[in-house]
């Protein structure tokens, strides 16, 4: 866990430096006439300072000598893949349309989380798709993308 914290605090220090530099560029102003970068600069500076204190504490801390608690590489990979799948799904909306893209995503999710039988997967996917479409498109009036491919095929 110690290594994970060292890396984390280092990332926060880099982030705070970048945020402070950008805030300074935006304009710090003065105490009488604070500029747009005034508050973000102070917040970034304080964040950096706290991260340095955290880093020093982590360095001084005795290493417990055990594996990073709660960080399993297989779990991490699964989570990253799920987030990537959701990002790809959203980016596919314009091309495939909401209905087709969502149906594919649901098939993947119902099958991947815990391998269910294909028949169950299909029924659950269709029901979820119809329910969410009805709720968001019909009840809430969200404009869900139709998909270029269907417009192209129809013409």
């Amino acid at each position: 866990m110690k290594k994970a914290y060292l890396i984390t605090y280092a990332v926060w220090i880099v982030f705070s430096c970048a945020a402070a530099a950008e805030s300074w560029r935006l304009g710090f102003g003065s105490f009488v006439r604070p500029g747009p970068g005034f508050v973000p600069f102070l917040a970034a500076a304080l964040l950096g300072l706290l991260a340095v204190v955290g880093l020093i504490q982590s360095v001084q801390e005795k290493s417990a000598g055990k594996k990073a608690e709660g960080f399993d590489s297989r779990d991490m990979l699964r989570i990253l893949m799920l987030i990537a799948a959701l990002a790809v799904y959203v980016l596919l909306w314009d091309f495939l349309g909401f209905l087709a893209a969502t149906f594919l995503l649901l098939l993947l999710l119902y099958r991947a989380v815990e391998p269910l039988r294909w028949r169950t997967v299909l029924i659950a996917s269709v029901l979820t798709l119809v329910g969410t479409y009805f709720m968001f498109s019909t009840l809430l009036g969200a404009r869900l993308p139709a998909g270029h491919i269907w417009t192209y095929l129809m013409n």
Partner: protein
């Protein structure tokens, strides 16, 4: 008499058919969220925030508030029957509630928790009705320095109480302030941290941020932990507590109510902390503390009463000062701002319908919850049997679509996914999300009041120390920071120089 008249006016608003319907819907969803482990009230409220855009502000707040206090009611069911808290505020209910269920007294445990919640919720509301108006009048004296100091105190107290590490919590608060400044600066008109992305000109949305940090990241963590949901095979009967139960639990309910009410008002307190404190106090007050942990009815009544009283009193600082006491209230503050309503002392005079309508709806909601929780207990138990693999894709899809439907923007969804990854890593590394959300919501207000105070005093920081209310807030902040530093140094010295045995 004025108070009574205003309350009648509030009931006039709350009893409108649309408001009654949304109050019921909020209570129903809240109970559902409370019953089902893996999705807390914060995630559910952020999930449903987009759905409130099309309804009137008072109706939206009535529904969102219903979800919050409804979850406090529902959370006890899973704690008692499955030994898994439906949400964090019901952790202490597991200890004695599950033991009571094992002894065949599940009905009594569920009954006393529902009645205790009702009594505490109603007493909390009475306290709120009496306290809120004078506090709002007092808050009219507040200027930018007072608001700035009060908000700083709120963020520090929340960081102190919620976090495993004060440093990490304060870091999250700073990060929240920075994220809150993304977009166009209303004073100078210049854009900040947008990096050419047009969609970021209006800033980072509250919904993508909260859904990412609380909604999806909770699901990701649930994916890793297999939740064992063996419902205790017992017949739930005798939901009406016996006279003996009432005698044993009456003081626990009243003490829990007082503790919950006080802690709910304080920044960072809220339902979770109050349920822990109420349980500890009850155990200490008991003549037979050995019964606690072995199925003492007071051990169920006290935390359940406390978390409901806290859920009601947490509205006091939000509605009177515009200051959220916890992350759920921060979400409600964001919802009010999104609807063009500014919470604070002027809410009472400018939007009395919202102020009194929401309060009156809570009285109605408490009765609805009692009806929902007791006769429908069998239905909630059945719901617990839905396998998680069926629910997870639905929740994920709701998060994605909820985020998208606010502005029909895929950028919001991608932002949510980014915060979802950040939220997951934060939970793994024990960085707390509540200070981040609170600072994100309060950030623009803190900036406004800080700049206004400095411009007013011609750049002198003395303005924060020469005004009594501001000075008191800063002293409290300094004491909390100092106590945290002293405690860290003490732990460190013990670690470096361990005491000789």
């Amino acid at each position: 008499m004025d108070l009574f008249n205003e309350l009648i006016r509030g009931f006039g608003v709350a009893l409108l058919p649309a408001n009654l319907f949304y109050c019921f819907l909020g209570c129903l969803i809240g109970t559902l969220v409370g019953v089902l482990p893996g999705l807390g009230p914060t995630a559910a409220m952020s999930l449903l925030l987009p759905a409130t855009y099309h309804i009137a502000p008072v109706t939206a707040i009535i529904m969102l508030a219903g979800i919050y206090y409804g979850a406090m009611y529902g959370g006890s069911t899973t704690s008692i029957l499955v030994n898994i808290p439906g949400e964090a505020a019901s952790v202490m209910t597991c200890v004695d509630g599950y033991q009571m269920a094992r002894q065949g007294r599940a009905g009594a445990a569920l009954g006393i928790s529902a009645f205790g919640s009702f009594i505490a919720g109603t007493l909390g509301l009475v306290g709120m009705t009496v306290m809120a108006p004078p506090l709002a009048t007092f808050a009219l004296k507040f200027g930018p320095p007072e608001y700035f100091s009060l908000m700083c105190m709120g963020m520090v107290v929340l960081s102190f109480l919620t976090g495993a590490s004060m440093i990490r919590s304060l870091m999250m608060a700073c990060f929240g302030v920075i994220v809150g400044t993304v977009g166009m600066d209303t004073v100078s008109g210049s854009t900040r941290f947008t990096f050419g992305v047009t969609e970021l000109m209006d800033g980072v949305g509250l919904v993508p941020l909260v859904m990412g940090l609380f909604g999806i990241s909770e699901i990701l963590l649930n994916l890793e932990q297999k939740i064992d949901r063996d419902i205790f095979k017992t017949k739930v009967k005798g939901l009406l507590p016996t006279t003996q139960d009432w005698i044993q639990a009456k003081w626990a309910i009243l003490r829990g109510t007082v503790i919950g009410f006080i802690l709910g008002i304080l920044p960072g307190g809220g339902a979770v902390l109050s349920s822990f404190v109420a349980y500890a106090v009850e155990k200490r007050c008991s003549k037979h503390p050995e019964r606690f942990g072995a199925g003492a009815i007071e051990g169920v009544a006290a935390p359940e009463s406390a978390n409901n009283a806290a859920a009601q009193s947490a509205f006091i600082p939000l509605l009177t000062l515009g200051l959220p006491a916890n992350v759920v209230m921060a979400l409600l503050l964001g919802a009010l701002i999104l609807h063009g309503v500014t919470p604070g002392p002027l809410l009472l005079t400018k939007n009395p319908d919202i102020f009194w309508g929401v309060i009156a709806s809570m009285y109605i909601g408490n009765v609805m919850l009692l009806v929902l929780n007791l006769p429908l207990i069998g239905l909630w138990v059945q719901l617990l049997k839905i396998p998680y693999p069926f629910m997870m894709p639905m929740i994920l899809l709701f998060c994605v679509l909820g985020s998208y439907s606010i502005a029909n923007s895929t950028t919001d969804v991608l932002l949510m996914l980014l915060f979802d990854l950040i939220g997951y890593l934060m939970k793994k590394l024990k960085f707390d999300a509540p200070p981040l959300v609170l600072a994100f919501v309060l950030g623009p207000l803190v900036e406004y009041y800080f700049k206004s105070a400095l411009m007013f005093s011609r750049g002198s920081f003395a303005v924060f120390f020469t005004r009594p209310i501001s000075l008191v807030c800063l002293i409290v902040t300094a004491i909390i920071l100092a106590s945290s530093i002293v405690s860290t140094l003490h732990k460190r010295s013990l670690q470096l120089f361990p005491k000789e045995p």
